[in-house]
């Protein structure tokens, strides 16, 4: 028979063992949830949904606790930003003296020199082009990865590859894997947020959980078609009823749910839903508060360029990101994308890249400075980059094509070496040749920095143990401080 004492005991146990965080509540019976502790869990069965979100220890001491990915949608050109190629100045206008890939996105033209000058900055003396004069001030904190490769020649495939490791199947995104591996540090908020993401080229799959438990999925705040000022989580506020009315409604609901639970006996789904409503109610208060940038000083707002229409939008995203990171969110993605051209300059490189860089340069510099000032940069990994670079050859007269064969991303903070350039492309910047960093290697390294062994972070799905890095990935240990 149903025993109220055992229910109470179990409720206590339940609350201790399964953090009823933002994301989810275990559904499986208590016994099976205990047996599921560990890296892998089962799916494919409604009665057996894996454990949720409480903070989990990493595999080894982490260098960083959280990640922020500044995603430059469209593919910023590496030879015009962080990977100078004097050979292009010399050989400008000549046919490329190297073999081209069998498949290119568009017909390949002759070599095209960079319209920007590079200057050396900082103690490290690393060169940065005139597109990023403000970020350049932080060059001694940057670990510039010049040999990233292996996405896909088209945007859709490349975004998916960058975010999920697969350009062919729907697979969990890196933020979802990190959430799955580490859980969250603030149970009133989602563990993985993506600010103003683009809905194109993979859309939700780029922050999706695929076969991982639903609570690992990224929560989008707005999307690329809306100004950052209007970005909110869906359903986070009620247009009709004030919070105190909703509280009364919730009290009635919970009374009904408690009666119902008492007549049904032990059931984690019923119990979990009871808790989830309380959390949702708390989140309605928490989210708007964190997103309220007016709580920041004017100096800080200016530091992020919020006072300037050119930098306002991305500045807001970066400042929101800092506030979420500070509040304990594990993985924040910030996307720079508009609906039109993004960083995708097949033509008119000069105009497009100038516009894009002027929108992000100051906010990123302000963001890095702010993280430093708050001592957050130490254990926050900042990742910057696009889904591929651009060809050193021209497309048309003044554009550049997609180049997934060698391009630049950079990291900062999170125990990576600052003032370092890692890997290299060939003398023209077409192919990565030295210390090549495949996208799987990037993922392996990112997880390593968070204290996760990418080969051990697995999930059993459809009879196979899946990983973010599939069957590949090497940690680039040389970049670790």
């Amino acid at each position: 028979m149903y025993d109220p004492h055992s229910l109470l005991a179990n409720r206590r146990q339940l609350l201790q063992q399964t953090a009823v965080g933002f994301g989810g509540v275990a559904l499986s019976a208590l016994l099976s949830s205990l047996s599921q502790a560990g890296d892998s869990a089962r799916t494919g069965d409604a009665g057996n949904v894996p454990n949720p979100l409480h903070a989990k220890p990493p595999h080894f001491a982490p260098r960083a606790k959280r990640v922020v990915f500044l995603f430059m949608k469209g593919g910023p050109s590496h030879v015009d930003t962080f990977d100078p190629k004097p050979a292009l100045d010399r050989e400008d206008g000549k046919p490329p003296p190297f073999a081209l890939p069998d498949v290119t996105f568009a017909p390949t033209g002759n070599l095209l020199k960079s319209p920007w000058k590079f200057q050396r900055y900082g103690q490290s003396g690393l060169p940065v082009s005139d597109l990023f004069p403000n970020v350049a001030q932080h060059v001694d904190d940057l670990c510039i990865l010049r040999s990233v490769h292996g996405t896909n020649p088209a945007h859709g495939g490349a975004l998916l590859k960058l975010h999920t490791g697969s350009d062919q199947f729907v697979r969990p995104s890196m933020g979802a894997w990190v959430t799955y591996g580490l859980g969250t540090e603030n149970e009133n908020l989602p563990a993985f947020l993506t600010l103003c993401p683009t809905l194109a080229h993979g859309g939700v799959n780029n922050w999706g959980a695929a076969f991982l438990p639903a609570h690992c999925q990224g929560t989008p705040i707005g999307n690329a078609s809306l100004p950052a000022k209007q970005a909110v989580v869906k359903h986070v506020s009620n247009q009709r009823y004030a919070p105190d009315l909703q509280r009364e409604q919730l009290d009635l609901l919970q009374a009904m749910n408690r009666d119902h639970l008492a007549s049904r006996g032990r059931d984690q789904a019923l119990e979990g839903r009871l808790q989830s409503f309380e959390l949702a109610f708390r989140m309605q208060a928490t989210m708007p508060e964190i997103q309220d940038l007016s709580l920041e000083t004017e100096t800080t707002q200016r530091q992020y360029g919020i006072d300037d229409p050119v930098t306002e939008n991305f500045g807001r995203q970066c400042l929101m990101a800092r506030r979420f990171l500070e509040a304990g969110v594990r993985f924040v993605q910030v996307t720079h994308s508009d609906s039109d051209v993004q960083w995708d300059q097949h033509g008119d490189l000069y105009r497009g890249h100038t516009k894009n860089a002027s929108e992000v340069d100051k906010p990123i510099a302000g963001f890095l400075q702010d993280l430093k000032d708050r001592d957050l940069l130490r254990d926050t990994l900042v990742l910057w980059g696009g889904e591929f670079g651009r060809t050193p050859t021209a497309q048309g007269t003044n554009g550049r094509d997609h180049n997934p064969h060698g391009f630049t991303m950079w990291m900062a903070g999170g125990g990576v070496k600052g003032g370092m350039a890692y890997g290299a492309t060939d003398e023209f910047g077409y192919y990565a040749i030295e210390n090549k960093m495949h996208i799987n290697d990037l993922h392996a390294t990112l997880l390593h920095i968070l204290g996760i062994d990418h080969e051990r972070l697995t999930f059993r799905y459809a009879g196979r143990d899946f990983r973010l890095t599939d069957v590949a990935g090497n940690v680039a240990k040389d970049i670790l401080a």
């Binding site: 057996n48 359903h235 009315l245 789904a269 019923l270 006072d307 229409p309 609906s339 495949h438 196979r464």
Partner: protein, 1002 residues
């Protein structure tokens, strides 16, 4: 070996091994080499004694260290990427997956040399970076020498290397897993032919209504667990109604069932539900999960699958008509090849076209093989409960599926056409059958023309407006240069805006120009500006300077009046033209100057011409219309875009169905080594996986057909070990919330074992014997005591100890409403559900982009029709669906998850659909009843199918009263009181809709 981005398990990615292990190997092999050197003059007996000493020395000095450092990690004893091992002579002499490593004496014909030279983009070793020129030369030299190699050793992975065995982790774990042999595979439970189990005789005969009960009960009795008592009649009718038609029973239906004491009362309910058209809308949706149905492509280019709805309707009809499952299968795989193809059977082949495709993939061959892979994946998971995908690159590591099996199947799909061969531009067209008559197509032409015209109107408006802005700026260039001198080198836009407004300039362009004048200071024309700035010239002077300069560029040399004074070629000569600083008056209204600031010499002309060309880069129109245009222009432009979108969205499509047809028949297909279409191996003929063949005779395929019909017939055969088992297990899952085999898409070695293997086989036979009738199977299962059990068991405590997951079915599994059930139930109880069936519902024309120019998806979900008819937009699923575990519509799914996450609670609290439904439900009961208690009872009956208890009645009444009072003071007017009352009732109704009791089915 070859590698490229086409391959899912990129061979290059096999480049992994822990540093620790690598270190061990290095130490180990160094020791060996040292040993070799030490005992060099005493060659072991099986070492080729023919290696001259100097060649041996060359190998030891240059080649062995290089191999150890750069190659062993992936081609050593632990990993053999590409099937290649480089740590012993015999090993590499055996070659790798791609063939021989080298041709002794001929470096230019050797794959090894080709790989290290890094000239072939698909073959570059080592993958992390090119070797030094010296190292490459050494390898070339070594091959030229004939590749002398003293390293003896086994080529197999079962190395008896003692030092290696001492590696505490156990080297065995790293050995590549070998799939089950075909012989062993035939012995695995799911690959064995269907057995014919006898129905057992449990002790409690009274409980046994059907053979199903006998199987379940005998297992429970063996475990010593008693099944739950029969469910309450209210629970039962609610359960079966949601289960069969996805809707709650009406209060009258509940009442009728409670009042019916006859023996066949429940059977009557089941028959009524099975015969209703809503049955197909519920059960068809189950199959649509398996078929990864969607109305848009998703993946890279999200365009509308504008004719997918015909497949959706086909599935719904198939369930309503109880189409025999074998026929259903054959139509979906080969509906174009049946004896007399109909539109219906062609529509069914949409199954093979619906998958998400990388439509913009530039590499067409890769696209073809990826599409075939997706088709094999969907087909094998949907019908056979197997994952064949792994075998694209290698033999299956667990199941008895060989790589050759995969390419036997792939040959069939390769002979099938999924794309429209005539439309293979940037975004490839999938294949469709056109159904329209010539006159129908003709009738659409004006509409097509209108769409094109609207689009072109918007585009040319934009182009013209952009050009006007550009022209205006170029005409005002001198002014821009003048005003720019008032700004700091890297101004913010707010600093620019007031000046721009004051002088009638475009703020963003002025901003851009100022930044450019800084960045391009080395440019000769810009240098002039900088010089003027340094001299602190007034804006007017600068403006005039550039006005004159640009005038020079526009006037042919001959027409220029000769100037007297030659000016310096390097720039302006303000010193020679020095004039007093302009007084205040001139600054306000600068009169046309008589004095020329610059001379028209050749140098100036050159600079002028150069500047003229440079102008578009200094005065650049922002790319985005919202930055380039003023508000008026922008509104006009958006209006044109919107007009084009609306016309396109609303335009009818030419009638067509998505479907495959036969293409060029390929009787064989080469194995793609490591899954790469650039590395082809042995050709294999069309065929079926060897371990699954029901006959020892190899199938024979028609020369002029793809072989899909033979494949379909083989799968739909009563002798096939998997097809019927997999399907009856799905049906079981959709009734009971968990399959007899929990992993509905995996009946392989890593799937779950069946909880009731005999029952599964018995059901599969029963199903085939009934002519593959789904409805017969429903009748059998619904009539069983197992289905009619309560969801709680008084002996739960004991049962949970023995069987915590309820695999043996000692109670009915409580289930949460699925997304569609939840939505439809809210609409049904509030009397808002629109029962219109079928037809196109996605608000997009075929192949129209889902997102408009501002990344906005115009798809709306406000329709009140059943959820099965709401559009399924991949990458942007309807929020309510997404939150309540709607499956990813790119992967076959037979068993949805049931998560509990906080966003679900947010949705139930704040979503408009929920609140609107609550409003309508409140209005309904307020209209129908005047007394508070009657209203509460009615809400309970509608939403929860039961009467409220006394305590519930008083609690609800107090809630409504209290809230009503908060919305309006008692002395308010009638209208205010009325509205307050409605709001209070609405909040109460919403509470019930959000409650556990509403969302859970006992």
């Amino acid at each position: 070996m070859k590698f490229n981005y086409a391959c899912r398990h990129q061979p290059r990615l096999l480049w992994r091994c822990s540093i620790r292990t690598l270190g061990l190997v290095v130490v180990l092999v160094s020791a060996l080499s040292l040993d070799n050197l030490l005992v060099g003059d005493e060659p072991s007996q099986d070492r080729p004694s023919t290696i001259p000493q100097h060649e041996l020395a060359f190998f030891e000095q240059f080649i062995r260290p290089l191999l150890i450092e750069h190659c062993y990690e992936c081609h050593g004893d632990q990993d053999q990427s590409g099937g290649l091992r480089l740590d012993s002579r015999t090993a590499w002499q055996a070659g790798g997956d791609s063939g021989a490593l080298l041709t002794a004496g001929k470096p230019n014909e050797s794959r090894l040399v080709e790989a290290v030279r890094y000239e072939n983009l698909d073959l570059q070793m080592p993958p992390s970076g090119k070797l030094s020129a010296e190292q490459i030369a050494a390898i070339e030299q070594w091959v030229t020498l004939g590749a002398p190699d003293p390293r003896d050793g086994p080529a197999q992975t079962d190395s008896t290397d003692a030092a290696h065995e001492s590696d505490g982790e156990g080297a065995a774990q790293h050995k590549p897993l070998k799939g089950m042999s075909v012989e062993d595979g035939r012995k695995f439970w799911s690959f064995k032919p269907l057995s014919n189990p006898a129905v057992p005789s449990p002790r409690d005969r009274a409980w046994v209504n059907t053979a199903v009960d006998a199987f379940v009960l005998s297992q429970l009795e063996a475990a010593g667990i008693a099944p739950a008592p029969p469910a309450d009649k209210r629970d039962l009718i609610r359960r079966v109604t949601f289960n069969l038609i996805g809707l709650p029973p009406t209060p009258n239906e509940v009442q009728d069932f409670l009042a019916d004491d006859s023996d066949d009362a429940f059977q009557q309910v089941c028959e009524r539900l099975l015969a209703s058209p809503e049955y197909g809308e519920r059960w068809g949706r189950h199959w649509l999960d398996v078929a990864r149905y969607a109305d848009s492509n998703g993946l890279d280019e999200n365009i509308a699958l504008g004719n997918a709805w015909r497949y959706r309707d086909y599935v719904i009809h198939a369930f309503n008509d109880d189409k025999p499952f074998d026929r259903f299968l054959i139509e979906q795989l080969a509906g174009d090849l049946v004896d007399e193809p109909t539109v219906e059977s062609l529509t069914a082949t949409g199954f093979l076209v619906l998958g998400a495709k990388v439509l913009a993939e530039p590499d067409v061959e890769k696209l073809m093989m990826d599409t075939i892979d997706e088709q094999i994946d969907a087909t094998s998971k949907a019908f056979l409960g197997l994952t064949f995908g792994c075998a694209r690159c290698h033999d299956h590591k667990f199941d008895p599926v060989l790589q050759s099996d995969y390419y036997s199947l792939a040959a069939i799909f390769k002979s099938t056409r999924t794309f429209d061969g005539n439309n293979m531009g940037a975004i490839k067209f999938w294949n469709e059958y056109q159904l329209g008559s010539a006159s129908e197509l003709e009738a659409l032409k004006p509409i097509e023309a209108e769409i094109a015209a609207k689009k072109s109107a918007a585009n040319s408006f934009k182009a013209q407006a952009m050009k006007q802005i550009a022209d205006a700026a170029i005409a005002a260039a001198p002014k821009y240069f003048g005003i720019a001198s008032l700004l700091p080198p890297r101004p913010t836009l707010p600093e620019v805006e007031p000046l721009a407004t004051q002088h009638g300039l475009h703020a963003r362009m002025l901003h851009h120009a100022r930044v450019q004048l800084e960045l391009r200071r080395d440019d000769p024309a810009v240098a002039q500006w900088q010089q003027l700035l340094e001299q602190q010239q007034s804006p007017e002077t600068i403006e005039q300077h550039f006005a004159e300069l640009l005038l020079l560029a526009q006037q042919p040399e001959a027409q220029q009046p000769e100037t007297q004074q030659p000016a310096s070629a390097s720039g302006p000569s303000p010193s020679s033209n020095a004039e007093p600083a302009p007084d205040v008056d001139t600054e306000r209204a600068p009169a046309p100057r008589k004095n020329k600031l610059i001379s028209a010499d050749t140098a100036s002309r050159e600079i002028a011409a150069h500047l003229q060309k440079l102008l578009p880069e200094l005065l650049t129109v922002p790319v985005q219309p919202e930055f380039a245009f003023d508000e008026e222009t922008l509104i006009a432009y958006y209006a044109l875009m919107e007009e084009a979108r609306v016309v396109e969205s609303g335009a009818p499509d030419p009638p067509a169905v998505m479907g495959v047809c036969d293409g060029q028949v390929r009787t064989t297909l080469p194995i793609h080594i490591r899954g790469s279409h650039r590395n082809l191996g042995e050709p294999v003929p069309r065929g079926f996986p060897v371990a699954l063949r029901t006959s020892t005779v190899e199938p024979v395929f028609p020369r002029r057909q793809s072989g899909r019909m033979e494949l379909a017939r083989w799968m739909a055969s009563s002798q096939h070990p998997l097809t019927a088992r997999v399907y009856v297990n799905r049906i079981w899952r959709w009734h009971f919330g968990r399959g007899l085999v929990a992993s509905t898409e995996n009946f392989g070695v890593l799937g779950d074992a069946p909880s009731h293997p005999e029952l599964l086989d018995w059901l599969a036979r029963y199903f085939i014997e009934s002519g593959w009738s789904t409805k017969d199977l429903h009748r059998l299962l619904l009539a069983s005591s197992v289905y009619q059990m309560a969801s709680t068991n008084p002996q739960a405590e004991k049962a949970e100890q023995l069987d915590p997951e309820n695999r043996w079915l000692w109670k009915f599994r409580r289930q949460r409403l699925e997304a569609e059930q939840l939505r439809d139930a809210m609409l049904a109880v509030s009397d808002r559900l629109d029962f219109t069936a079928g037809g196109k519902t996605v608000p997009l024309r075929n192949r129209q982009f889902v997102f408009n120019h501002t990344s906005q998806d115009y798809t709306t979900y406000e329709s009140l029709r059943r959820a099965v008819y709401l559009p399924i937009i991949r990458n942007n699923i309807y929020t309510l669906f997404e939150q309540f575990d709607f499956p990813d519509p790119t992967m076959p799914t037979g068993s949805r998850q049931q998560t509990v996450v906080a966003p679900q609670a947010l949705l139930m609290l704040n979503d408009e659909l929920v609140m609107d439904s609550a409003d309508a439900l409140a209005a309904r009961v307020r209209r129908d009843y005047s007394q508070t208690n009657e209203r509460i009872e009615s809400v309970y009956r509608l939403a929860l199918c039961r009467e409220p208890e006394a305590a519930e009645l008083s609690r609800a009444a107090m809630f409504v009263q209290r809230l009503s009072a908060r919305f309006a003071a008692p002395d308010s007017g009638q209208a205010v009181l009325d509205s307050a009352d409605q709001k209070a009732w609405s909040l109460f109704c919403q509470t019930l809709l959000a409650s556990n009791e509403f969302i859970e089915i006992d």
